[in-house]
């Protein structure tokens, strides 16, 4: 994983991408116990002035395939890990990317989404595995409830959060 992150950092230094943040299961692992996953979700922004307003991941694929990385469906294999590069789909994703926190894997710097943004994005996606992850965050006690409340309010997710609570947090 360290080698994968080093390649992504180099791609950033070379100006192919702007800011990036790890989300999904690998991002959640920053806060929780590790749980099985086969890929890394990397949310990326693009530097301005690349000559086109059309958002495309082509420069990433071109950069990486020129460096012996192999494209595989929606993934690209970077130093043994399947990486999925994702532009933030909406304002919540943009904020999650902007507010990601810096950490290090050994000496390699990287950025991980905050726990509250990971929960809000999981709630927005709403698949069974996302609900499981939200429950893990709650049980681990790592969420700042005020911060989460503000995010859910800002992005219209409060009603969905209440439904989630009714479904999964109400005592039998």
């Amino acid at each position: 994983m360290k080698a994968t992150l080093a390649v992504i950092n180099q791609m950033q230094a070379d100006g192919v991408i702007g800011r990036y943040a790890i989300g999904g299961a690998v991002g959640a692992t920053f806060y929780l116990e590790p749980s099985a996953t086969v890929d890394i979700d990397v949310f990326v922004s693009f530097k301005h002035g690349q000559g086109s307003s059309l958002l495309t991941l082509a420069p990433i694929y071109e950069y990486l395939t020129a460096r012996d990385c192999q494209a595989k469906g929606e993934y690209i294999i970077v130093e043994g890990w399947q990486v999925q590069f994702l532009p933030p789909g909406d304002a919540l994703g943009e904020e999650a990317l902007a507010q990601a926190i810096e950490t290090h894997v050994d000496a390699v710097p990287t950025w991980v989404m905050t726990a509250e943004h990971l929960v809000a994005l999981a709630l927005q996606l709403g698949r069974p595995k996302d609900f499981t992850r939200i429950l893990q965050f709650i049980e681990a006690g790592v969420l700042d409830s005020n911060k989460l409340d503000q995010i859910l309010t800002r992005y219209g997710l409060l009603a969905r959060w209440e439904r989630f609570g009714d479904r999964f947090l109400r005592k039998l």
Binding site: M1, V26, A36, V38, W81, V105, A140
Partner: protein
């Protein structure tokens, strides 16, 4: 819930807490091992047969 079951659940919770408190670098090494096991399980003929049955 029985005392025995409560102790089992407490033990699991403690293990998860201990794992969550590891440094990120160490957790990523565990994640790699989990990924390798997942891919190995997914590649077995037994698993493939199960998937075909739906």
């Amino acid at each position: 819930m029985s005392d025995w079951m409560r102790r089992v659940l407490d033990g699991k919770r403690e293990t998860r807490k201990r794992l969550a408190e590891l440094p990120f670098s160490e957790k990523l090494i565990l994640l790699e091992k989990l990924r390798d096991r997942s891919l190995l399980i997914a590649s077995t003929s037994l698993r493939r047969r199960q998937l075909h049955r739906g």
